[in-house]
Structure formats: structure tokens, C-alpha cells
Symmetry: C3
Subunit: 492 residues, 3 copies
């Protein structure tokens, strides 16, 4: 390294701990745009948070005494987008305390690290990996703003910060319900399997606590014939629905009943995750043939593709009938790494996006229900190439279609900027659905919404300073982006 | 909405009507880049407008007394990119006065709104939908600059503005020919079917009016075997060409003759719109076999694909021979919504772009004519992913290839910025063809060219301030972008 | 052209020759970001240059008296990305002195221009074609900074500059070895066929000269069964390896031996160029069947695809065993133009990128070796759509994967900006491999690294001014981007 670089590093290293969070962060460098962005942001920064889609475990809120665990539990072990980055740099998942499916944790000679201080140290030693990433941004918000840490996390400060975090996380104000209120969450929707008894949601309602938590109906486990445990998933659904399911028709009936149950429990939306957004209206006969093959354990990949495509149309029909918003997340190759899957299981950071095609694939569904104002179909993609080419033109025409916010890896500053750039001109803001955080990491919720609100304010400021809209327009659009569009789209 | 947001809205709402059009709109927020952009823009803002490709109805200019209709006719009913946005938000097309194919308009109990004031009010009530969209930008230019409206269009101001517009549109200076001159249109090319008798163009020429209006030869209706009315289109061509067409060879001969007629009538270019840019040099025998099947009503989808691909090569050959510029617009799924198509027909905002592939598809054509300096083949895409990957490298090598400007939905500020970003480094400016507005909306022409000129000036300013080119270079490039490249490429 | 445009051109034309290279070029227009970028850049501008991948001819450095030829040789004839741009505008390759395969150069009535002054004039007359292109940027750096030309290259200044260049290129300090030292090249890796005897590398080592030049093992010519001269390439490999190759197993053994030889000669990496990154683990039997068909001249396109895919897995296995870094460049249609290929041969600017798919294609290889920390697999693409969708998520998970820098046409300011934007958030900086220039044009090396360093400094400055990282982080990241990541990734 050059002398100059070393000097730079030393000079600025001294500033560590100062201004860990810039109050104007994420706004344009340009002073005029920055001022307008700040003004728009100030007007929405404190609006209540609407979480119409996410994966927070409702148990956190069902038990009033639930805690967030150790700092390692909270920030590393439970967040596969944190530990995947460490893993990508050669750190074994065992060293990060990730439990193995074989339960090796409890065995003698356990390879899984149990010392959470040590896990934290490893994380802190490699905190540089998160520079410029969304995880880095959220972690900074959580540590320095939410939890009030006042020094930069590094290998050197790791243990002192660990102590401070342990202390803070033990306090009553860090219990999930207390945080829910402190976060000003107006409503939080979870995601729940079609057979789920929603016991946690019942418990929350019956507890007298005022927080609004709603379930979301997600039937992937029984709709995708190639799900490894499909047959037993079907049995579980049979049990939940109280009816034996031996036909495709029976499956559809069971789903209708479960949707009704979810609706009674407060759900306003469903969610489907598919590898491809292919849809096809099968004849009843053809649907039953495929279903029979699946029951016999003989469904093929094309069978599964066609059956799922058929079920998407059925889901749209049910939404037309019961008014639940239909969400479709497409284009994800689940569990790409067989080694990690074998040892650690699903949701370990090895789901990888693939290209998607919407115009041909979605047409059979749109032919039937695309013009029906009773349907709200929300599309989510990881294939940004379809933003301007396919999704914005589709959403800018079909009354039933709206576009979900940038999803997953694109829930990031650049991801949002590309989304605004590529979607808004053709679809218009009002064919989008605001923001959702889609997170399992409960404490990251304010950080994620804050990034969106800052990015939105900055985008609007860019339109204002370049004369595309006036400040009156921007002042109306900003709160819609912050929570209005989400609230209205999801009928919350 | 928060108090703050309400205050913001109130404060800035008071400013409505002031500065409806920022004189420095669309330029970078950065003051230095903005100053350079303004300087470059000032030098080209008033250059004459060259329109080498578009869809203005020549009847507007053939009849010296033609008018633009009511404000609802002009801005809503005739512009499917305006009414598609309203439709996407659940407003029925009938409520916007869009005529139905069944002529329900004239029937008793007509569902189609006939009160243009009411249509205008619906439009104004939803004008917020166009915030940040190209339509919003063009409408602002047309209302506030071209037609001199001095208050912002909202639900509240709708009727007063309607009155003012009715008054202004009735004046002689708002007749199409008067506007053509006021717009400083140097030449306007229309798009005309291969069988068209070009009567309007004849009428314009013979009228003694000085405006230059040229036809463009577009043979899609007879080249695409799967066009619904292909058989009758062929009969129309037979009649126009004065020869029975019973073979592929006969079709080609007829096209050659029609091209010669168009050329005599002033055409310098042809245009083809295809779903895919596939090309294939069929043997004469194979071409005739497919054509025979088509005549018998038995052409398959692959037949149509191959035949169209063959005809593209024939069109290139003819261009080599007669010198007409060949335009190829690829990657559009026409009439995606069967419900809207059934009731309202084609060109109702439901054409949707699809992915395109150029490197393999175009190779058979390029193998034959890509090195021939007599050919100018202009490519247009809606699949921006091909800008940097395929199109710019192809145009940066083949002498016959040039790239058309950002097309359709990408005729927008962001669309242009992406085009400059992704095309120019590899293709170079001089392998592009300047701008064309591609519009049916005659009054939007100055607005569209102004957006392009501002975007061009701003792009060049960005190169200057970052030291990539000097101001002398930029001062040469700017007028080429404004109209020079278009004029030269299209041989106008 | 308007008066205003003419005035502008005249005024600024007078400034030609002043500030031919802006010291703050390529930085953001924003003054704050620019100042931070400048500070970061100053700290890395003079760091030594690491060239881990490129195509410089080692003969240039093996012969201490080698020269760079005439200005036309240096800047035009040897640089197919310069002459392809001139060709795209209709200038025959013969007029640019490009040798024909038929050796027409030496014949009577030679159509190939031999007067290098005339070639230079043609180039200078069309120098405007390179405005805003990477070639324009590099040429400016080479002419105005490296070679000290003090007037802008135009048709008018062409001959004077030619004289000056001839004079300068003849001086000892312009010999390749002298330039190597002046450029502060720490290490330069060439690319060499699997059968190459590395005589030049031997000569360099034995000459006593201190410059570090390393070979890279590239076996495409024998791995791709459809290479036109595959059979004779195989014979050459047999000769080099000293063993007859009659089986796939024998081929693999020969490659292992050649890798060992390359490693002894200093190589730390291999490189493979494939049209698609398809991989497949063939059974030994299936591999031998395909190899037999290839020996018999009967290999099909699917055969070649599968065999190459199989060999990629074998190459990964060998890398696990011998520790050599594996580079994979995918997605290029070689020699797209049969006319140019027939007359002038390969590498004449008509290789065209195509779309690539990585998630499904690379899975068989990753299933085997993706978790192995002994493997470093570097991916390069021309399909930018895979940056955020596929490559960054893959590299952000698999320990064996890293992403190479923006390749080929994307080795440009916009290409780098898109790479930073689309890759870094998801992969993180430390799953990327820094920069490599990938060039045949030896004298362009400092220019290319300078563009990368400026673009990196500017990207980091953007993160700093928007509060994503602090200056201490940026000061550590900048030298890693300049040469640290390249040095470490390639084990140099």
C-alpha cells in the first residue's frame, strides 16, 4: 500500500466512532437535490410502518416474554444473508453456529460452534465484507441507531460491543412487542403455510395486546407437486381441512376452505413462490390425470410445471371470489447447493435467481382475469430485465396487475434506483404497491423501511429538481410511497 | 398523512400555476453540467425538426381544413398511451369515449361516453397518474407551452381549461398545416401499407402547400402469414399491383413494384415490424411450399416465422437494389389482451414487448448483405438488454447496420439515458440514427423532439464535464443528434 | 447548423490543444464527490500495475530490441477495436493496412494499403468516431500523456503528429522493456495455448531482465471439438506432451502434464473461453464415445457442447489439485462475419457477445467443487443482465467463486459503473477480483488501469458522500481495487 493510502487510512481511521450514521445518508451528493430530498424525507420519516409482506415468526409476538436471543443469534445465526457472505469467503457455517440437520450440535465432538462470543468475533473480524451492501446498511442502522452503539464495529471493538448488546437486549424495551410499538408498526403480515393452524395469531388476538399481526396464505407446499415432502404436506392439509384429498378438485376445495379460515383470522392476501410464472388453464380431466400421477409418486417435471400453472389460475379465480390480494414471487432456484442443503437444509443463503418470462407465461391467467377489477395480482421478480420490457408495460395496461417493490437482493439502494428508473415511467407510480420488507429479521424492519423512504425521497427530489414534477406532486407522492400505496393495495 | 406532509402539500400547492415548465428541465441537478447542457441545448433548440419515422395520419395534412377535434379527441381518445394508463387503474375504456368495434356508440343505450367534457373531467381527475411519465412530460409541453394554458391541470381546473382549449383549437393557427409550419418540420414521414394508394400524399403534393410529407413502405400485412386478414390483404395487394399473386415469387415481384411506386412518391425508407428478428434464406422451392400452404389457409406458426425471416432477407436485397433504408422493429407481442381486442380492436395500449435475440437471428441476413455499403439497415428494439450485449457490438462492426433511437416506451428521459449509457461507448454516436418520434399524436411532435434535444445536450454535457470530450466535440455532436444524423441516415 | 451552434464550435474549437487531458477526468461533476474521488485516486494512482490476465505478445518482451512499429502499426493495424469502428463506417479494411490471409499484400496490384502515413491520415480524419468511446479515452491517454503529443489529433494535425510519433517511438525509452518498467508493471500474465513451448517466457527468464512475465494456460484449441483445426491442434498437443492422444483420458492426462509445465514456468492461472458456460459430468464411457466421434471427424454440435462442459469440470478438478486459478470467459460468438473471416481471419472485431445462463449451466461443476476452498473459479461475462440476477448471488454464496472485472466492451467507464452498481451490493467487493486489462495493446495498459482506478475512486467517493461507507473504509478499499484484489486472487 502506498504511503498516501496509509496516511489516508490513518487520518480517517481516527474519525471512527464519529458520525456513524450520516443524517443525510443515501441522498444525492448534489446539494439542491439533497435539500429537497431531506425536506420530503422529513415529512415521511415518522409515518407508521405498514408491513404487508414478510416472514417474521409470529411466535416472537405471541409470547409476551419472547426475547431476541444473543447478539450472535440476532445478527448472524438467524440471518442467512449475513452468514452466506461470510461463508462465501471460506468461513465454515459450523464456525458461525449454524445448526446442522443431523443435530451434530448436541453430539460429543460437536463441530458447530456454541460460543456466541466467538461467533460474534468472527463476524466482527470480517465486518468489512458488508461494506456497501444492504446488510451493511441495515446492520449499521440496527447497531448505531436502534441499539445506540457508539463505536464502529471492528475486530477490536467486538467484545465491548457484545457486552453492551447483551445488556441492552435483556431490557424490557427490547422485547419484540415493545419494539413493535417503538417501531410504530401499524400492521405486520406474516407468511404461513396453507395447513397452519395460526395458533400464534390466535394467541396474539386473545392476549389483549393491541399490535395488529395478520397471516398470509401460502400454499406452495401442496401446489408444487415436486416439493420433496409433497405427499405428507398433502396429508397435513387434509388433516387441517378435515377432508381427505384424493383429487385436484378436492385440493382446490380444501384450499378454498383454508383461505376462508385465513380470511377470518385477518388475512388479506395470499402468496405463491414459483420457479417460473408459467400459467395454463388445464381441463378438469387433464388436471385430475396429473394429480393422480402425483399421488402415485409419478409426477414429472412438466407435470409439476403445468399443474402449478393451472393452480395459479385457480388462485386468481379464488381471489376474484374472496377478495384476497394475490402475490406471485417468481424466478428463484431454491437450494442450489446440494452440499449445504444436505448438511444444513433450506434457507441457508443458496437460493439463486433465474431469468423469468412474463408476457407469454402469464397470458392464460390474464386472459381470464386480467381485466377483472376484483383481482389484485402483485408481481415480484428477481429478473430486473423484465422491469421495463415486460412488467411495467403489463402493469400499465391490465387493471388487475400491480408491481411489488424490488425484491430480495434488490431491496437495496441501487436495486430501488433501478426499479424507479425502469418501472415508473411506463407503469406509473400508482400501478406499484409501495414497499414491503419481506424480512425474517424483525429488528431490521425500521432500517429497511428507512432505506426505502430515503430512496423514495431522493428519487422524487430528482424529479423535482429536473422539472418533471412540482413540489406539490412530490409532497403527495412521498407519503403514498412510504405507506399509503401498501396500505391501499393490500386492503389493510 | 403526517402534519408535515400536509404542510408541504399546502405550501407548494400554492405555487401551482407558477413555473409550469422549468426552462432548464431534464438537465442534471449539478450546476456545472446544467450550465453546459443549457449552452449546448440553446444551440439546437430551434433547429428544424426532421421526422423520418412516425404514424401521423396524412389525412390531417391532406385536407387544409382538417382540425384536431375536441380536447378529448386530441389528448385522450386518439392517444392509446394516455387511455391505457387510465384503463390500468380500472376506468372502463367506454368511459373514455373509446369507440367499440360493434359500433355500440351509435346504438340505443350506448355504453360509450359521448360527452367529451365528461371524458376530459375523468382524465383531469386522474392526471396524477402521469406524474413522472413521458406522457406527463409531453402533455405538460403541449398544454403549457404549445397551447399556452397557464394553470396546472387538475380536477378543479379541468372545465376552465377545457373551455380555453376549445377556443384555441378552433383558431386557424391550430390547423395541422399551420402547426406543421410553426413546428418547423423540415420533413415528416408517415407509415403506409404496401397496398396504399398514397392518395393523401398525392393530394398534399398537388395542393401547392410547401410542407414535405413522405410515405414509408410497410408490408407487414402481406409478409406475416399469420396476420388475421392475410388472405384479403394479399388480394388488396394484388389489386394495387395490378397482378394476381399466386406464388412467393409473385409476392416479391409485387412488393418490388410497390416499392418503386412509393419511391416515386417520395419514400426513402421501408419499415417492418416483426415479433422476432429471425432471418433465414429459404430455397425458392421451400419458400413456395410455405406460400402454398398459406394460400390454402394451412400455414403453421413455424411456417410464418420462416417465411417472414426469408422476406426480411428479400427486403434487404431490394434495399441494396433500390437504395431505400430498411427499418426493422422487432420484439412486440401485438394485441396481448383478447378481451380488449375483441371489443375495441388493435392499437389500444395492449401491445407488450418481449425479449429479442439478434446475434443468431440476424446472421443469415448479415452474411449476405451486412458488408454491403449500399444497405442501411436500422434496428429498433424494446429489449434494452440487447443494447450493450448485441446491438452496439453489431452496429460497431457491420457497415450496413445502424441503431434506431430508443423506441416506444423507451422514448423517455430514462430510456434515452440508458440508451446513451449502453449503446454509445461500443457503437459510437455515428452508428446511431439520431431521433425519430414514432408518433401518431401530431401535436406531441415538438414535445418529443424537445425531450430528445434536452436529453442529448445533457448527455453531452456529462461527457464534457467529466473530461471525455471537449466542448468543440460536443458542439459538433449536438446538432447531429438534433437532426443531422436522422437527415443523413434516412437520405432526406 | 444553426448560427449558435457554429459560434459554439468556433469558440471552443479555439481551445483545442488546451487541457487535452483533464486531471479530474471521469470523476463525478459534483464538487464534493469529485474532491473525495480525487483524494482517493491520488493515493492509488501510482501503485504498481498488476496484469493478471491479458494478451500481450511475449515476443515484445523476449527480444530486448523489439519496437512498437510505426504509429499506424501501433494504433491501428494491431488494434482490432480501432479498425472495426472505422470499418463499421464503410472504410475497407484494406485501406487500413489490415493484412489479408491470401497474402495479397505482397502481390502485384496489392489492394492492401502499405503507406502508413496514408493509413494514419484516414484514421485521423475519422477520429471523431471515437468520441465518448473507451478507445477514444485510451488513445487520448496514450497520445497526450504517454507520448506527450500537445495538440489534438485531427485530419489537419495528423501528419505533424505522425512525424512526432515516429521520432518518439524510435527512442530507447519507447522499447517495450523500457515501457514495462516505466509503467511500473509488477507482473504481466500472457495467454498461451496448451501446446505452446513458452520459448519467449524462457528467453525472458534467461535474459537476466527483471520484469516478471508469466504464462497462462489456455486449452480451448483442443477442448472445443468444433474448433476448425481441432484434429491438428490435438496432434500439436500430442507432440508437446510427448504422448499420442487417442482417448479422452489421454487428453486429460496430457493437459495435466502441460499444466504442470506451465506452472513450472510461472503460471498461476488457466483460462477457458466458451460460447456457453454449460457444464456436465459425463461418465467416462460417454466421454470416450464423444471423443471417438471427434477423432473420426463426426462430432456434432451437442457432442461438442457436452464435451466442453465435461472438460470444464475436469479443469476445475485439476485446479483443486494443482492450485491454479481457473478463469472462465463465456458468451462470445466468434467470427460472426464470414466475409471478413474468409478474407482477413479471426480477431478482426467481429466477435459478438450473446446471452448467457449461469445458474443451471454451472450447477454440475459447483455441485462438485463449489464448496472447495482450494478452487478459485473466476467468471467473466459479456451478458450484464446476469450481474445482479445470477453472478453476484452465486459469488455471494459459493466459496470457490469470484467475479472477474467488466470484460471487453464493458472495460469502459459506463461498463464499470454498471458493474459496481449491479454486482457489489450482492456479491460484496471481496468476492470480486479487482481489475485486469485483457489487452493485446501493450501501450494501452496504463491508460486502462488508470480508467479503472479513477472509476473505482469515483465509485468509492459516491459511497462516502452518500454515507454508505466512511473514509477509512474507502481508504482500505481503494488500493485493494487498484491492485490488491488482483494480486491476491491470482496468487501473484
Amino acid at each position: 500500500m502506498s504511503k498516501r493510502a496509509k496516511t489516508l487510512r490513518r487520518e480517517h481511521g481516527d474519525l471512527q466512532g464519529q458520525s456513524l450514521l450520516d443524517p443525510d445518508r443515501f441522498f444525492s451528493a448534489d446539494p439542491v437535490q439533497r435539500r429537497v430530498a431531506r425536506e420530503l424525507y422529513d415529512a415521511i420519516a415518522d409515518l407508521s410502518i405498514v408491513c404487508p409482506h414478510g416472514h417474521v415468526d409470529p411466535r416472537l409476538l405471541a409470547d409476551e416474554n419472547a426475547t431476541l436471543g444473543t447478539p450472535a443469534d440476532l445478527f448472524i445465526i438467524s440471518d442467512h444473508y449475513v452468514f452466506r457472505m461470510l461463508y462465501s469467503q471460506g468461513i465454515p457455517l459450523e464456525a458461525l453456529g449454524i445448526p446442522r440437520r443431523d443435530g451434530a450440535r448436541e453430539n460429543l465432538g460437536d463441530p458447530v460452534e456454541a460460543d456466541h462470543r466467538k461467533i460474534w468475533q468472527t463476524f466482527a473480524d470480517h465486518f468489512c465484507l458488508f461494506r456497501g451492501t444492504p446488510n451493511g446498511v441495515w446492520l449499521a442502522h440496527e447497531l448505531y441507531q436502534l441499539l445506540g452503539i457508539q463505536q464502529k464495529l471492528t475486530g477490536a471493538t467486538a467484545q465491548a460491543i457484545y457486552d453492551e448488546l447483551v445488556d441492552k437486549l435483556a431490557r424490557p424495551e427490547c422485547r419484540p412487542r415493545a419494539l413493535f410499538e417503538r417501531f410504530q408498526i401499524e400492521v405486520l403480515c406474516t407468511t404461513d403455510g396453507a395447513s397452519d393452524d395460526l395458533a400464534c395469531h390466535k394467541a396474539i388476538r386473545e392476549s389483549g395486546w393491541q399490535g395488529v399481526v395478520r397471516p398470509t396464505f401460502r400454499p406452495d407446499a401442496v401446489v408444487n407437486l415436486l416439493t420433496p415432502a409433497w405427499r405428507s404436506n398433502l396429508d397435513t392439509l387434509s388433516a387441517a381441512a378435515g377432508r381427505e384429498i384424493t383429487t385436484a378438485k378436492g385440493l382446490i376445495r380444501a384450499l378454498e376452505e383454508r383461505r376462508a379460515f385465513f380470511k377470518r383470522m385477518g388475512a388479506t392476501a395470499t402468496d405463491s413462490g414459483v420457479e417460473t410464472p408459467y400459467t395454463e388453464a388445464l381441463s378438469p380431466k387433464k388436471a385430475e390425470e396429473i394429480f393422480s400421477r402425483a399421488l402415485a409418486g409419478k409426477a414429472t417435471t412438466p407435470d409439476a410445471r403445468r399443474f402449478t400453472g393451472h393452480m395459479m389460475i385457480e388462485m386468481a379465480r379464488m381471489s376474484v371470489e374472496d377478495g384476497m390480494v394475490m402475490q406471485l414471487h417468481a424466478g428463484c432456484y431454491r437450494n442450489h447447493n446440494p452440499v449445504v442443503f444436505e448438511v444444513f437444509g433450506a434457507d441457508k443463503g443458496h437460493d439463486i435467481p433465474v431469468a423469468s418470462e412474463w408476457v407469454y407465461n402469464l397470458k392464460p391467467l390474464l386472459d381470464r382475469f386480467g381485466n377483472d377489477p376484483r383481482l389484485t395480482l402483485l408481481l415480484f421478480t428477481m429478473d430486473e430485465t423484465t422491469y421495463s420490457r415486460e412488467l411495467a408495460p403489463l402493469a400499465g395496461h391490465y387493471p388487475a396487475l400491480k408491481l411489488g417493490p424490488p425484491w430480495w437482493f434488490h431491496d437495496s439502494l441501487n436495486g430501488m434506483a433501478r426499479y424507479f428508473d425502469q418501472v415508473m415511467e411506463t407503469a406509473g407510480l400508482y400501478n406499484t404497491a409501495g414497499f414491503n420488507d419481506d424480512t425474517r429479521a424483525f429488528v431490521s424492519i425500521p432500517a429497511r423501511h428507512d432505506v426505502w423512504r430515503r430512496a423514495s425521497a431522493n428519487w422524487l427530489a430528482g424529479l423535482v429538481v429536473r422539472g418533471l414534477i412540482d413540489m406539490a406532486d412530490a409532497a403527495e407522492m412521498a407519503p403514498d410511497m412510504a405507506n399509503g400505496l401498501a396500505r391501499r393495495t393490500y386492503k389493510l
